[in-house]
């Protein structure tokens, strides 16, 4: 069995020592620090990136909150302005309406007064025209001119009967 040939022990041990010491030195001084650097660097970079993302998220949330606050303030202000304007406009409208109504009432009253006057004037004119016409008719028919008072009384009586 080759494993038990004691003559091979010494050279095997010598070369095992040589190769293992070289391996250990290369691993401990060169390879492993390099791998550690890369692995740790990657982990740090990941952590940093995650932190950066969290920070940006916080900033975004803050910006959104600020925006919403500004929006709410602007909305409230707009509502206040609108309410104020509405109140002002309705007050103005009410004033204009009251003025117009007063004017209309005044004009109506004046118009009614002038209509009444015109009506009375017309009625008065009608009486005299009717009396004249009646006295003419009577004079033609009877040949005698009736007295003014009688004609007027008859006209007044006839008019009263008409309007009754």
């Amino acid at each position: 069995m080759p494993q038990l040939e004691t003559a091979t022990f010494l050279p095997q041990l010598v070369w095992l020592l040589i190769s293992f010491v070289i391996l250990y030195v290369l691993m401990a001084k060169l390879a492993l620090p390099r791998v550690a650097e890369v692995v740790d660097g990657r982990r740090k970079r990941l952590e940093h990136d995650l932190e950066e993302a969290a920070r940006l998220k916080r900033e975004t949330e803050k910006a959104i909150a600020d925006y919403e606050q500004a929006l709410a303030a602007a909305r409230a202000k707009a509502q206040a302005i609108a309410g104020e304007t509405r109140a002002r406009i309705s007050a103005e409208q009410a004033a204009v309406k009251a003025r117009l109504e007063a004017e209309i009432a005044e004009r109506t009253k004046a118009a009614e007064a002038s209509i009444l006057a015109a009506k009375q004037q017309a009625l008065a004119a009608l009486k005299s025209v009717a009396a004249e016409a009646a006295s003419d008719v009577v004079a033609r028919l009877s040949g005698t001119a009736p007295s003014n008072d009688a004609v007027e009384a008859a006209v007044a009586q006839a008019l009263a009967k008409r309007s009754a």
Partner: protein, 255 residues
């Protein structure tokens, strides 16, 4: 010569390549096939861990992934089994793991030599681990180290039985550590060679019987896959047992 070539143990023979003595005899510094494969294991490990990491990419390529994976694998092993006290021994455990792994894997190449199939090599590694860890344990714990052989809570009258058992168990660690690795490699490679020999001899029988050579061929294929698993597993076992022994030495509780 032909008969010797076919011996399943022929593959383990140590042959002088350079620096030989008179008539091909071996001297202390003689460079043999064993030396060659030790050097190749170192070259393989350096290729993986130094050449593989040459770009130091943030997003690793294939070889860099393997290098980082090996690093993380052993780093986690040391962290989980030894704890923070084991950090300074990580390069040694890593070298041990990668050396055994490379030697086992190179041994799977046909016509190659398996360094770890020689008890003298595995025993040398195991005795270095054993003596080193014992030295660390005594340096860290002083006289308290010897309470290891008398566990706390054991009645005094049991001491004459317990103490010798504990001492024998402790002293047998390097033997079990080295034999486990060596025997696994020896048995695995011998079995492969025996079944491969069956393939040749069954085909050589001629006629219909030649076809039956397929059976040991299937066997040898399956065994090769198993041997790759064992090659990795034994490197892992060697490293993790070293971690467990180290953990005992550096984390010994003081009462």
């Amino acid at each position: 010569m032909a008969a010797e070539q076919h011996s399943p143990l022929e593959q383990f023979k140590v042959k002088c390549i350079a620096l030989c003595g008179d008539g091909g005899t071996l001297q202390a510094f003689s460079f043999t096939n064993a030396s060659l494969f030790m050097v190749l294991s170192v070259v393989g490990a350096v290729l993986l861990m130094v050449y593989g990491m040459r770009q130091r990419s943030l997003v690793p390529g294939r070889l860099q992934s393997v290098a980082e994976l090996s690093y993380e694998f052993v780093a986690n092993m040391v962290r989980e089994n030894v704890g923070p006290n084991g950090r300074q021994y990580f390069p040694f455990i890593f070298s041990l793991f990668i050396f055994v792994l490379m030697a086992n894997m190179l041994g799977m190449v046909p016509y190659s030599f398996t360094v770890t199939s020689h008890i003298i090599v595995t025993f040398a590694l195991a005795i270095v681990v054993f003596l080193g860890i014992t030295a660390i344990a005594i340096a860290r714990n002083g006289i308290h180290f010897f309470t290891h052989f008398m566990p706390a809570g054991v009645p005094m009258w049991l001491a004459p039985i317990i103490v010798p058992i504990e001492i024998i168990s402790y002293l047998s660690r390097p033997i079990s550590l080295s034999l486990r690795l060596c025997a696994n490699m020896l048995a695995g490679h011998t079995t492969l060679k025996v079944f491969a020999g069956f393939v040749v001899s069954m085909i050589g029988m001629g006629g219909v019987l030649s076809a039956s050579g397929i059976l040991p061929l299937i066997m040898v294929t399956a065994l090769t896959a198993l041997e790759f698993l064992i090659a990795f597993l034994q490197a892992y076992v060697f490293a993790i047992l070293t971690c467990l022994y180290l953990a005992e030495a550096v984390n010994m509780e003081h009462h």
